[in-house]
Symmetry: C2
Subunit: 315 residues, 2 copies
């Protein structure tokens, strides 16, 4: 297959992210089909006209026959089981995933000897909802989609993964698995932990506190409305990096509290936080151009560009 | 003046909240005028057709002449100066405020001997913007507005404050000053501190982390975009209550981090947080009825109803 052609996409797991990807890929002109473990999820997708089955072996054999891009879209605890079947039935297919951590998935892929065709992925999008009913072909529009550039990545599967992300309307950030996991601990998993902490503190104030709560509480606790099992599946596989970021956040809070108690002010924290939010508002997502996959130090160049805030908007 | 009549409202300080209140009161049919310290703020309000002056003495003498409801709408550090002039020039006017803490304002009011005509207030609304340019007559629509029911509160000024809040489109939560300050430490000041902490942690991850940041970071840091001086003016006067809530939040985070490190899970925190957010989503703002200001144990009944999540929607 030429990297300029759209091919087939096989999504394994049709929950919020996987199901939305199935919709988006179909809408973009891919031959898109998928697998889901639960019969109810399969039925819901079929009712909406999508080609989804609960027979994993049949789906993987079909994917191997059409050289489909396999997309693992199950929570981390289920990844290893899927990889075992992929290694048996579709080891030649290009392979990516949309799991919220990249290091543990890469380790599992290597354990099954599938690294030559693997490129990690993580679309930075979602809602507090889950399941097929919440799926939306527009979920990836203008989102950022992290795509792996770890050593040994091959140009052909890499280009197919990037093409899919771009066709779904996303911007692509090239990133190493380990650096991805450190970054998302800060900007995805810490937000979850702080939202849960704030929701707990608000509710501990009883009906009066919740009755007075307004915009700052509403926005600060939004992601605490996500189903507990899903939050845990997102955050817990990144325990090491999240633990280090929690150490840092706790130290920040202890310093601020002690300063407030002794001097009555929050100056340092508020100024650092304001600068941080301003840096976020001012980020540019500048476009990476002029790098040809598979030539020269393409992986190193993409890695450094991603570290510096660059994104791919076209192949 | 009968409590069934709308009278005059005099807003002291025409920033985001005070200026919006001037607009909302005028739109609701009140004779509304005001004072602002800065000439630029006065000019901006006048250009929009509002009756605002930088001559505090003249404004207060005029307010005394028409028995206007005085609304203190300056940051906490400026409250004492205003009260001194009010005690001299307009001590008979009914008096309220829209400051983010109630205990320190009540103490200052008592120091100036103005408590007989004072009723504390706090509309739970705002934006990250500030100044006259950001004012909006609709800012209070469907917001919650805390109104004091501390011992000694008189029915006539209380009814005028409640009437004004209702006429601006808000729901009124009756509350004691001390309980208000404890509650807002949880649902307004802690959200600010956690948002600043999250913004700082995200920015410490550099351009890669900020480039990958999506909805959870955006919402979790929204209020960190508020001007640092304004955040400090909101939070620091409530240092004692905020310090206690920070102790609690830090303990929650330390427990969660230790559990994550030892057992690899976040179960307890995530479940408590989810229940807290669900309780917020499910709050009802049930309507308090059948209480006549000035009769029986009206202050006690209103206090207990507010503690239990009740609101006034009509007088």
């Amino acid at each position: 297959m030429s990297i300029d052609e759209r091919g087939a996409v096989c999504v394994l797991g049709t929950g919020l992210i996987g199901g939305s990807l199935l919709r988006a890929a179909a809408a973009a002109g891919y031959v898109a089909f998928g697998y889901n473990r639960s019969e109810s999820g399969v039925s819901a997708a079929r009712r909406d006209g999508f080609d989804v089955s609960d027979d994993l072996s049949a789906v993987l054999i079909r994917a191997a026959g059409v050289d489909a891009l396999l997309v693992i879209a199950v929570p981390m605890p289920a990844v290893d089981y899927l990889l075992a079947d992929i290694a048996t039935l579709a080891p030649g297919c290009p392979l990516t995933d949309v799991v919220s951590v990249k290091g543990p998935v890469l380790d599992a892929v290597r354990k099954h000897g599938l690294e030559a065709r693997y490129v990690g992925g993580h679309p930075m999008t979602g809602t507090a909802e889950s399941g097929w009913a919440a799926t939306d072909a527009g979920l990836f529009a203008d989102a950022v989609w992290a795509v792996g550039v770890d050593e040994g990545t091959q140009a052909e599967p890499w280009s197919r993964v990037v093409r899919l992300a771009l066709d779904c309307g996303s911007l692509v950030v090239p990133v190493l698995a380990e650096e991805h996991d450190q970054a998302v601990a800060r900007i995805s998993h810490l937000p979850h932990v702080l939202a849960e902490t704030l929701a707990a503190a608000g509710a501990a104030g009883g009906k009066l506190a919740l009755g007075l709560a307004a915009g700052s509480f509403r926005d600060g606790t939004r992601v605490a409305g996500t189903a507990p099992d899903l939050v845990r599946a997102i955050c817990e596989p990144n325990a090491a990096a999240l633990g280090r970021v929690l150490d840092e956040a706790i130290e920040t809070l202890v310093t601020a509290r002690d300063r407030l108690r002794v001097n009555g002010d929050l100056r340092e924290l508020v100024e650092v936080g304001y600068r941080g939010r301003t840096a976020y508002d001012d980020r540019t997502h500048w476009e990476i151009t002029g790098i040809t996959p598979g030539t020269g130090d393409w992986l190193g160049e993409l890695h450094r560009a991603g570290q510096d805030g660059g994104v791919l908007r076209a192949l």
